[in-house]
Symmetry: D2
Subunit: 425 residues, 4 copies
């Protein structure tokens, strides 16, 4: 059983038999170790940290015929949003027999007392093919709204299960909704499906859309590689997603094997070392390919303030590098051609690839199981290969990041051949 800070809140005791008499259930006290190493197992004297295992429960909390489920998608686009909307609808409809499923439009705006666009009824027919296309049929938006008003709205619409699909800002908002629900003694389960293309949510080893994002990143990387090789002293530069965590950039470089330099938020670099590396590379190969995560090198492009989602604003490291590198080589009279791409929209708006579609379906199934069992204030995640429940508080507390002294970053160094750009190069 999970220790206190990983324990999952519940709306109450589950007394109702799950429908359809299926044979497969997960015991409610099953849990998955956070550290799957032998050392991890041993060090805690039998009570290591663990996460509640997800899956269908034999006893559920909600009577299916009494359920009104709602779905909302928030934040930027991410591959797989329609897969998740589709799967939530299909599974709660067919597996549990729920017939009232509502899609709220344009994120939390759709939970306001007078939303700009009315909610829509979600049915299997309506959602059958939506996963073939990118985007979200519900629309999305950024920004915070008063939890009290949103709970008023949910109560008024008799919603008792709310699925919140979004990033850490969204899940923090969902947590406030769940707290307000609890304060009022209502019975509304709030279950999050974490959506972060950066794959930076804690206690889930994978988030949907991430693999597709990595795959889509090959388009601009191959492109700037061709462009860089196509001119004398060509330097291809691609800015990828990654506000605080460079997973997309790291994986994209590993997938392509065309990249010579990866810059991520977790690994600082000095411009003089970056110049030295490029000068050397121009001499040896006449071209180079750089991938930079949007959150890397923020000390060079300081800005202030936050966006509508409450995220710290980022300076544009891509534009900065493009200009600074061109200027440097002009100054040393060895001009280079920098070809720069910021493919953000092209990546975010793609439909999920096959493996992400599988993941979306299974993740959403488990979100439905959790909600029907009355779990709340939690998100579904994947840990050590098992679907798990993670308290929203834990999931949003710190970001998952690349550890530069561990295996993934070492793979990047081996793949690219890039040196340490921080110390004495």
């Amino acid at each position: 059983m999970a220790k206190e800070n990983f324990s999952i809140k519940s709306l109450g005791v589950c007394r109702i038999d799950a429908p359809q008499g299926q044979a497969f259930f997960i015991a409610d006290d099953s849990s998955i170790l956070i550290d799957a190493s032998m050392a991890g197992c041993k060090k805690c004297k039998g009570v290591p940290d663990a996460l509640e295992q997800a899956g269908p429960r034999q006893k559920i909390f909600f009577e299916p015929s009494a359920v009104r489920a709602g779905i909302v998608t928030c934040g930027g686009l991410c591959p797989g949003l329609n897969d998740v909307i589709r799967a939530l609808t299909m599974v709660i409809w067919y597996r549990y027999g729920v017939r009232k499923i509502t899609g709220f439009k344009y994120g939390y705006e759709g939970l306001c007392t007078s939303p700009s666009h009315p909610p829509i009824d979600l049915t299997p027919d309506l959602v059958a093919d939506i996963h073939k296309h990118g985007g979200t049929i519900l629309g999305t938006s950024r920004g915070h709204h008063d939890p009290a008003k949103m709970v008023d709205f949910l109560h008024e619409h008799k919603i008792n299960i709310l699925f919140t699909i979004g990033g850490d800002g969204t899940q923090r908002g969902a947590m406030k909704i769940a707290e307000e629900v609890e304060r009022r003694g209502l019975q509304i389960a709030v279950v999050g499906i974490p959506k972060t293309i950066d794959n930076d949510i804690s206690f889930t080893e994978r988030t949907f859309g991430f693999e597709t994002a990595v795959a889509m990143s090959e388009i601009p990387i191959t492109c700037v590689h061709m462009e860089a090789k196509g001119v004398r002293n060509g330097i291809g530069l691609v800015k990828l997603m990654g506000r605080e965590s460079g997973f997309v950039a790291a994986y994209a470089a590993l997938a392509s094997s065309d990249v010579n330099l990866v810059l991520v938020p977790e690994v600082p670099f000095l411009m003089k070392n970056l110049f030295s590396f490029l000068e050397d590379r121009m001499k040896r190969k006449s071209h180079a390919v750089i991938v930079v995560a949007e959150g890397a090198g923020q000390e060079f492009v300081p800005v202030e303030g936050t966006d509508a989602s409450g995220n710290k604003k980022l300076g544009d490291i891509g534009i900065f590098l493009k200009k600074t590198i061109a200027d440097h080589f002009a100054k040393i009279q060895n001009p280079v051609n920098v070809r720069y791409i910021d493919p953000s929209y092209i990546i975010r708006s793609a439909p999920a690839n096959a493996d992400d579609s599988v993941f979306c379906f299974r993740l959403s199934e488990n979100a439905v199981h959790a909600a029907m069992a009355g779990k709340t204030a939690m998100v579904v995640g994947l840990w050590n290969g098992h679907f798990v429940h993670v308290p929203m508080k834990k999931a949003t507390h710190t970001r998952k990041k690349i550890n530069p002294t561990e295996s993934l970053w070492q793979s990047v160094l081996h793949n690219t051949g890039q040196p340490d750009l921080c110390g004495n190069y």
Copy 2:
């Protein structure tokens, strides 16, 4: 036979039998009507304008064993460059038995007395698979060079056939080389393969890479369509190639059928009408997709000067529209989300699609036939479904453009439903 201004220059009389004794040859006086309508045939009393038909000649000018062929690629990347390099090499090697084929690096820079990078030998083994990848294995550059020096260089390297792959600037440069060759009484055939992703070369109904560019344009159009539908009042905006001719934008809109507005250089528009159209569209549909050719609406973004290739510099109509549209809707207190993509590099660096690969092969075959027959100062083209020879002077004299009163633009209007944005809307 073609009238005077379409007649093709030749290095001399063709006395050598074509190798391999194949049965298929084109008579040297075959020609293709410029106007294939009945009216065109009748109006000129038997001597309508016509273009010399391309194809293998029974008698050729060069003794294959004496040929040293050179290939150069100039200007921006374009899908199919490697297909053309490959096909020229393969056909002149296998069909004619030529064994000395040289690739000059980085455009006309490679024809300078001391090029930054030495030329490379092109063989069937080297070029066998290059067409699977975008870019150009020869590299490219922009900018003019002294024809006299380039002819010195060619003479010194004993090149007697030069294939120039490039746009109208490149072919004007090639024409000057051919003139200098003629002035000196040398025997160097200069044969151009027109490369313009805009498809704006006169007297060729198609240029290589154009169809691939249209196909690749679907990526950003689908993307901004998803993005525009994914938010309240979303406006997707894509800037496509098309300095003076909007063919890429027009075809991309027809291919996608997701576009609501196409702006091209040939069809002026008023900003107030564009705003009215968008206001109306936001009311009816809450989202819109706009495709703008880079050369459209230049009166709104005046700039001066020319680039290294001698092309008039263009103001950035994409950035202008993005800002101006957002500002307008902010002012009328109905804010919109503009999602803007400039996919230029992604389109230019793509490998040729299947149909372009076929076209590249057949176009290059005909360029080889022309060169071996001693034709010079000409480019190969496609007209009324036949490969033809076009004097460089005619090909570069005026640009091919969309005629707004003819069939193609009418198709665009039918497909998009866009109104006349110029008059009283």
Copy 3:
């Protein structure tokens, strides 16, 4: 004006003004030369063969509000069917204001007195996104039906424009419907959109779906190339569409440049020469790639009878070659690994690529213009770059084929390096 056998039948005099007062119209006596060469223009003393030019007419035959249009798709799947259904619907709705558009299900079966599935109403909303997917939303079938009964059905449903999308069997059926209509003195325009993935309809230089088929053929060709290179003495074999005309096979080979041997119906071959070629190739390269059109080498696989569409049944040349080649090399104790793919469904079910989508839209526009002008018993085609009207009788009279002594086949020989496999090899 076209000579007698190319003249287009009409339901009567066009007295009604085309709607919307647009400026662009095609004069009804515009025509396009069949032979666009200078020789063609000269030889006929001013009256060369020509085809009526397609396009919008200033005066039309049908009052739009009185029109009930019907659409039917017949025969096998072909990329672009949904594009054509969509474009016919969109253009007749928006350009002409017609509001009654009916889709008949499962080909001519849907025109029977009691069709298995009822017709459906086609509206812009219904068809908006169908072109993103392969197949046909109307379904299709093979087989003939009694023209008299189909005309009864059309009359009963008050259809006055029928669009028949299908191959030569379908258009012959459509011709019989048109004849029956004429016999009864009815006013039903029957306009065909030729659908043949083989691109073998006479007097149209291109049919929709053909380019996509060529592009999709790259998948199995690349695959067997990899498979063939991946084993000792690997021979990759792909059977492509092409009952009597080998255009798909020829273009696919040119597009890929990985093919060593192309077998088409128009060019006979001897098995002993094919073996000699392969033995030689195994010695030199240890692998080979063969593309065979389904109608090639039928003398080796004789069968009798016709299919439901009335097409002569074909023996399976793919299976035959696979076995015969393997047996031959086993016999000479130099066993080979033959990897055979018949990708027919994968090619036929693909969505149209970008260029085919453009073509489908423009072709369908012209079909609508023709029908509204009361033209009948004709199909729309493309000739010398212009959309034209072709009498169904001419279009279905003979098939367009590859001429082995002309340019296209020569390109194939140059590209593959394959020898003459017919004579004394």
Copy 4:
């Protein structure tokens, strides 16, 4: 530390410092739990089963300058083979400084005393771009060879590290080589990289190429879906890989969400139930899509014997179902159109997708680390998210299969809505 049966053999004590003084190393006694659940941790009283963790060791066994590494690829094609060849070469070259790397041609045939084709030298330049293409540059073959002769050959060529890329037959062969090496007291490390597109190797949760295979399966599934919907009573049928384990079929169905029935080896079915399901489906929807793993329903298609790799021969369940289903519906006078595809080659010959490329690189890195540390008779795998060493004996002992009572198969049932086809339907 792992218990006895998971312990890894070693050539001897590691006394040499790993080159380059990097900071990241894995302690040699690190291990990963086989069961990562809390129950798993508790049940074994502190010594649960575990697998040795992979990664770079601080002390290695081989002096890099003395290493001659060999690589061999065996069995059928699989996406990622070239990625693995490339990564092994790159990492052992750049990370360890090894300069003698040999690729043996056509599988174990290349290790015979007189191989049909000589080995090739692998260098970074040679392998730089091979991962962009499917297949294997080394070629492959099936079949067993005498371990003694192969060890003679390795010894003669002074190979001291052999990487064997192949399935369980290959790894059993490798185990015999390792045993023969041990018997002779030689110092040759034999390290396997498991290659099974079926993903059925024990103790590795993922094998390379599997995700790509699932992704490629979408092509035929989408195709037969279009074909099935395009005719009356259309039934699309796709046979996918999966001799004893249906993972590809299960994941492909989950990815597509277009599949109505998944048949896998692990879940028996009765033909009468299958017919009942399809009859019902034809009534409700007029079309259906079936995916069948090649090893499913073998009781209906009994065959005897084994193939060259020693695998039990399989009857062709795809052909059987195609015929049997068509016959059944003909008999009940409700004929169906069955569209059947066996896309095996198309899937196997594809290049690795992005996520598989990442996996191949990291897997190969760990194989290099293991070999340099003198580990032998083992394969690298992934378990609970960590790279691990698995004794060849354990890896090939039993196959990993779908457990029909657990989560994955339940997801398939939810996704497809298919009933239990085994009991009383």
